[in-house]
């Protein structure tokens, strides 16, 4: 592809010497949303955790192959630097419980010891909260605890926290799986807006969600990349029988 920002090349991952991902080749288009779709246990979460090297927190994991960010192998960089460039939002909202909304947004700067003037802080907080469409809801109680917000608001706060670091890529690991339908709708709308400024990789098991928000879809099954292409193409004329079966709900 012509404008790819992240390339996964001949990539395999092992847990306890058991292969969980085999021979993945994937290129992610800049400023697009790419869904990684597949049933539970197919390795999709492992795959994106390998992209920001969070898999290294789990002992007994081993990887093979390369992941290139703008042509540079991620595994030759320091993990802290990789994670600053590739932000992540998790399945369950996890704002820092003893920080206010305001502190949560700039926590990436504070925890990394990056000094900001109050003016810069205010600007970053307002801009990022605007970006995730949370500003109007919380602007009068920025100094309340982040964990007092509703689930959907907490998740948007976590997205703001990741976006405040101005990452090149945002990884979303089933970001709506613990939210109610209205909050899901808000987040999906948001994903669509956010791709103007950041490349998004979305892990989901929801076929509908992949269809609604993503430009590209990769279908993963049993640790294997079955099919990858434009969401429209993949959904209307899947090339592989397994993709077709999954999309039509014949297995899940």
């Amino acid at each position: 592809m012509e404008n790819s920002v992240l390339n996964i090349m001949d990539f395999s991952a092992y847990y306890n010497e058991k292969k969980v991902l085999g021979n993945i080749n994937l290129d992610f288009e800049a400023l697009n949303v790419t869904s990684i779709l597949g049933p539970s246990g197919c390795g999709k979460t492992t795959l994106i955790r390998c992209i920001n090297r969070m898999h290294e927190l789990v002992p007994k994991t081993r990887i093979q192959g390369q992941v290139l960010l703008n042509g540079i192998n991620l595994y030759s960089m320091q993990p802290e630097i990789v994670r600053k460039k590739i932000g992540m939002v998790f399945q369950n909202p996890n704002p820092f419980p003893n920080m206010s909304i305001y502190e949560n947004v700039i926590s990436g700067y504070n925890l990394n010891g990056i000094k900001l003037t109050n003016f810069e802080k205010d600007r970053i907080v307002e801009e990022t909260l605007q970006k995730v469409a949370l500003w109007d809801e919380v602007k009068s109680d920025l100094h309340d605890r982040g964990s007092d917000l509703s689930g959907g608001q907490q998740q948007r706060l976590c997205m703001a926290r990741a976006l405040a670091m101005e990452p090149e890529i945002l990884l979303l690991d089933e970001p709506t799986s613990s939210l109610d339908p209205k909050a899901v709708k808000n987040i999906e709308k948001l994903i669509y807006e956010l791709k103007k400024s950041v490349t998004i990789i979305l892990v989901t098991h929801s076929i509908g969600q992949a269809a609604r928000v993503s430009d590209f879809t990769a279908f993963l099954y049993h640790g294997e990349l079955v099919e990858y292409g434009r969401t429209k193409t993949l959904f209307t004329s899947p090339g592989d029988k397994r993709t077709e079966e999954y999309l039509t709900g014949r297995f899940s």
Binding site: R83, K84, M88, F90, N94, F96, L111, N112, R161, M165
Partner: protein, 278 residues
């Protein structure tokens, strides 16, 4: 048949109530007795004077109060950093044989009689340094505080969800900073409570101090010299034949219990106020 069952039920609840009352009677008796006997000796002199020689009035226990504070400060100075770091280690590296043995050792250490710890510190430290000292007393109390701090720190940090650590690491925050600035603040109430409880556990210990801090009839703030402590004064004066010394022992018991009560109430307050809701 029905009546029999009702009687059985009543009998059972009566037994439970009576046993419950019996179990709190000693506690109330201790508190009332110590308050009654001890409160009479509390006055200005009691806090600001050293014990008077036999037959020369009552004097006070300022040497023991200051000594106890000195010992607690020394013991905290040694045990808090070591205990905290060990607790963090155990919670972060729960797997593995080394962690297992550290956990087992901490549990065994907790069960070692305090007098044995006193003797060990006597052999290791007092004999080597050539004399009883506040420092030796602080070390023996520190050894007693250690397992409590280690285990409460570890157990509190185990309750901090991994998702918080992940949130911080995913922002590119180094592991050490994540532990210091995210994990520990989230568990701070439990950690502080553990430290306070460990202090209240050792503040009343006389046995390990007999061989280490030894006691001192005079005011002393030099950590290399013997120092008095409230439990030591209670031990020594309660078995003395002189009434003015016995009164001092009652007064010291009363103050000691007030200290422990305050520590416990304060730790409850910390638990409530600083608690992090996950």
């Amino acid at each position: 048949m029905e009546k029999y069952r009702i009687y059985k039920n009543r009998l059972f609840s009566a037994v439970i109530t009576i046993l419950t009352v019996i179990s709190i009677v000693p506690l109330i008796y201790i508190l009332v007795l110590i308050t009654m006997k001890g409160i009479g000796s509390i006055n200005w002199d009691f806090f600001f004077n050293v014990p008077a020689p036999v037959g020369e009035g009552q004097g006070g226990i300022s040497n023991a109060i200051s000594g106890t504070f000195l010992l607690i400060i020394l013991a905290s100075f040694f045990s808090i950093p070591v205990g905290l770091l060990t607790g963090i280690f155990l919670s972060e590296r729960a797997e593995g044989r080394f962690s297992y043995w550290v956990r087992v050792s901490a549990d065994i250490l907790q069960g070692i009689p305090s007098i044995v710890i006193g003797i060990i510190v006597y052999i290791w430290f007092v004999k080597q340094t050539g004399g009883f000292s506040a420092l030796a007393g602080g070390i023996s109390l520190a050894i007693m505080m250690l397992p409590v701090i280690i285990r409460t720190t570890q157990e509190t940090l185990n309750l901090v969800p991994d998702s918080l650590k992940e949130a911080s690491l995913a922002l590119g925050v180094p592991y050490s900073i994540t532990v210091l600035k995210v994990v520990i603040p989230a568990g701070i109430s439990g950690i502080v409570t553990g430290i306070l409880l460990s202090i209240s556990r050792v503040i009343g210990e006389a046995a390990p101090l007999l061989f280490t801090a030894f006691g001192n009839p005079f005011m002393n703030m030099n950590i290399f010299k013997p120092v008095s402590a409230m439990p030591l004064i209670i031990f020594k004066y309660a078995i003395s034949p002189f009434e003015n010394w016995q009164n001092l022992a009652w007064g010291a018991s009363f103050i000691l219990i007030v200290f422990i009560l305050v520590l416990n109430l304060f730790s409850k307050f910390v638990t409530e106020k600083w608690k992090t809701q996950f």
